[in-house]
């Protein structure tokens, strides 16, 4: 591939990208407010509307999911302003994705319609709120981009799939700069009821420790020729185990194993080259256990190479894959594998695999990292392999 990661923008309950990295390095569990729960927890932080370049009128006409994605995109681009102005606007694109998109805004309008006795009291932007791709158009207007946009909605894999599809478009020469953004607003209470329920059996995580989080993460992609970044995307894969839509079947392990091997061999690498794995573990019970057993088989004998940021930052669903890419990139640039916090994990399960997990921050030169993201239902898997060219 011919694609580099130029920068990031993050909106999260914990704070911006630097605050997240601080928490990771210090292995601190942030204080978050739980908004609603039904077997799951989640937390959000208020958005400071005075501290970004988003026009306040946006907040009245669209869901916070779009606002979060705009803020994350804006942050990523502002970090590269001079670079952005040197590019052809017709080659700048915006790829966005979300699992729940603007559900809260839509539900608010439905409530308004029902409670007003079916009178016409809804927002004129209700129709736009039903569009999953609205954030791409809004972002383009905000930064005056005129290149190809897309909205890639792959559930919890949406954000990372925006990165994968965006990288393909840069590699094909369709775009030269791409904002790939995944984000969620989980404030709407019905979301708790819609989420799959993990009963805790075979969970990798301690009951009640895992939480879902609103927010958005933008990964800014650029072609090698246009970028001075040392982090490069070298391989990617999207696969699905069709047998495991409703429950995890044995075939899931072989599909995952095969996809990891192919993702590495596409880059002419083997598992021995991989310094850091950020896995797809996402509180999905049997699927998580299957993933750990696949990693154990493939990376047999390797130690201290797995880090799971979502335990600390919360699972941002569609933003989660992009957050992992951020964490992997920071780890590679800093030469550190952060410590996992044992408080988050189910000791009974972890005992089987604890050699893989790092319990103290570890300095190490990291050249290749593998990021795995899985959906919260079914057997969808997205893989991204990144390289640190400084080493």
């Amino acid at each position: 591939m011919n694609v580099k990661i130029e920068g990031f923008g993050i909106v999260s309950p914990i704070g911006d990208k630097n605050k997240i990295w601080e928490h990771i390095c210090e292995n601190e569990s942030p204080e978050c407010e739980i908004i609603h729960q039904n077997g799951i927890n989640k937390c959000v932080s208020p958005i400071d509307t005075g501290n970004n370049n988003i026009d306040p009128k946006f907040f009245r006409r669209m869901d916070k999911q779009v606002v979060y994605e705009l803020m994350a995109g804006n942050e990523a681009v502002n970090g590269s302003e001079s670079y952005l102005s040197s590019l052809d606007r017709e080659k700048i694109g915006v790829f966005t994705g979300s699992l729940f998109a603007q559900l809260q805004f839509g539900m608010d309008q439905i409530r308004a319609l029902i409670s007003s006795g079916n009178k016409n009291e809804i927002s004129m932007y209700t129709g736009v709120s039903f569009y999953y791709g609205a954030a791409s158009g809004e972002m383009s207007i905000l930064i005056s981009s005129k290149g190809e946009n897309a909205s890639v909605c792959s559930g919890a894999c949406s954000g990372i799939d925006c990165v994968i599809e965006g990288a393909k478009n840069i590699d094909r020469g369709v775009n030269s700069l791409l904002l790939s953004i995944g984000g969620e607003n989980l404030d709407e209470a019905v979301i708790s009821d819609m989420m799959p329920k993990n009963n805790g059996t075979n969970s990798v995580f301690m009951p009640k420790k895992y939480f879902y989080s609103s927010g958005a993460v933008c990964v800014l992609l650029a072609s090698n020729e246009k970028s001075g970044s040392s982090i490069e995307i070298i391989s990617s894969r999207n696969v699905n185990d069709s047998e495991s839509l409703f429950e995890c079947r044995e075939s899931f392990s072989s599909v995952l194993e095969d996809s990891i091997v192919k993702c590495l061999s596409d880059a002419k690498l083997t598992v021995d080259s991989i310094d850091l794995v950020i896995p797809g573990i996402n509180n999905t019970g049997e699927y998580d256990i299957a993933e750990l057993s696949v990693l154990a088989k493939l990376f047999h004998g390797k130690k201290n190479f797995i880090y799971i940021p979502t335990a600390l930052t919360g699972d941002m669903l569609s933003g989660s894959g992009n957050l992992k890419i951020y964490v992997a990139s920071r780890c590679m640039l800093a030469g550190i594998i952060p410590a996992n916090n044992p408080d988050f994990y189910n000791q009974r399960v972890l005992d089987l695999y604890k050699a893989f997990f790092n319990w103290k921050n570890k300095q190490k030169e990291l050249r290749y990292s593998l990021v795995i993201q899985r959906d919260i239902v079914g057997g969808r898997i997205s893989l991204l392999l990144i390289k640190n060219n400084r080493i």
């Binding site: 029902i114 809804i122 004129m124 209700t126 999953y132 791709g133 946009n149 393909k168 959906d375 969808r380």
Partner: protein, 415 residues
């Protein structure tokens, strides 16, 4: 090495009924399915026009309906039904030994996904206290849709939903085309579908003055390219296609229905709900799709248009075509089947690509019905009211949508 990408299966669910042949036969006869809808709105004030597929019973068209139905929005029932037809035509069910499952992907375009399911469940929640459940996650969110199709056809390749705007069906097919061309997959089942008709969705389009204000015969409510066109009309349906590499199709010995030669897309960056009136980028998309393929304007004989029947869309679209094709724009034919079927959102571009495939093969362009009066801003040959003969090797499907998203697919006739 770039691969050629061909269409080997097509499936259509539209207000005309189930099946590509039903769809095509009604199109060329210029039949309208548009009527005033009973969606709880005063018909005199709101004029809620739309084209519905009536009496659709999923179980009549899908053998595993009982198993899948609890997880499906009405739109997904359309998509699965169309998928079944397309895969059967392509021989995907019987040719399992020569198809590698991990090289088969599913890309689905949808604009509003399962918003009607969300709307219905919300009503149950507020009126009866019935909570949302995990079933609603499957029904309402588009990310799950391709995985449901993947389970049905046993596909283990990439699964994606594309949702950019009303042009999502084109976005989905275009990206499937690229991934087969570049060797990422051998076969991709792709297209789009939506069932966007709900009281709340209609009202929001009414508020932004997009919906038809026509006060005459309901079947004439959508009048693309006519001078006093009254606005857009809602529709519903799904179009699904089986795309595969030419070599793969030949190896399997399956019939080739058409060839997708190129895909192009870009953005106005102008306004969230209005097209750029100068249609600069829309025109650029059309130019890119044939120029990148090494063709000249004179090679293009027919364009299947977005043609929503709104003042702004049709004027901008005409300008885009003229910008791109120059004088040749006046020599080609173009038409909007939304005049008959309304706007099926994510389903529309996919259905229109199926119509274009049939047009090139049969040498017939479906009409733009309800054409009444010449508009100098829409001065191209829109095949008014009666279908017309065409004889061309290349046709283009163009689409646009909210957020200023534009896309174009270049299709080649297979002789």
């Amino acid at each position: 090495m770039k691969k050629r990408v061909v269409i080997t299966g097509m499936g259509a669910v539209s207000p005309f009924g189930v099946g590509v042949q039903t769809f095509w036969n009604n199109l060329i006869q210029g039949k309208s399915k548009i009527e005033l809808l009973n969606i709880g709105l005063d018909k005199e004030i709101y004029t809620p026009y739309g084209a519905l597929l009536k009496n659709f019973n999923f179980a009549d068209h899908f053998v595993q309906a009982d198993r899948y139905a609890p997880y499906l929005d009405r739109a997904m029932q359309f998509v699965l039904t169309a998928t079944h037809e397309a895969c059967e035509q392509a021989g995907l069910f019987k040719d399992t030994e020569r198809i590698s499952r991990d090289r088969v992907g599913v890309y689905v375009g949808t604009t509003t996904a399962g918003h009607v399911s969300a709307y219905n469940q919300a009503q149950k929640l507020y009126n009866e206290g019935e909570k949302f459940s995990t079933h609603n996650l499957f029904q309402c969110t588009p990310g799950v849709w391709p995985m449901i199709i993947g389970k049905f056809i046993h596909a283990n390749g990439p699964m994606k939903s594309y949702c950019i705007s009303c042009s999502a069906g084109g976005e989905s097919i275009g990206n499937a085309f690229r991934d087969i061309r570049d060797g990422i997959a051998d076969v991709i089942v792709t297209g789009g579908g939506d069932a966007p008709i709900s009281k709340i969705n209609y009202l929001s389009f009414y508020l932004i003055k997009s919906t038809s204000r026509w006060k005459g015969n309901p079947s004439e409510a959508c009048q693309p390219y006519s001078k006093n066109r009254p606005g857009m009309v809602f529709g519903e349906g799904a179009g699904m296609l089986v795309l595969e590499s030419y070599e793969h199709a030949v190896q399997r010995g399956t019939k080739i229905l058409g060839e997708i030669v190129n895909y192009a897309a870009n953005t106005d960056g102008f306004h969230i709900v209005a097209p750029d009136p100068e249609a600069v980028r829309y025109g650029d998309t059309i130019t890119a799709v044939f120029k990148e393929a090494g063709l000249q304007p004179g090679d293009i004989g027919y364009i299947s248009c977005h043609g929503t029947g709104t003042y702004r869309n049709d004027a901008a679209e005409t300008k885009a075509i003229k910008r791109s094709l120059g004088k040749h724009a006046h020599r080609i034919k173009l038409s909007s089947i939304k005049s008959m079927l309304g706007h099926a959102f994510g389903g529309s571009t996919a259905l229109e690509l199926i119509s274009l495939t049939k047009s090139l093969k049969e040498g017939v362009a479906p009409p733009t019905i309800n054409y009444k009066e010449f508009d100098p801003e829409c001065d191209l040959d829109c095949v008014p009211n009666q279908c017309a003969k065409i004889d061309t090797d290349y046709g283009i499907k163009i689409a646009t949508g909210f957020g200023g998203s534009n896309n174009a697919l270049l299709l080649k006739r297979v002789k």
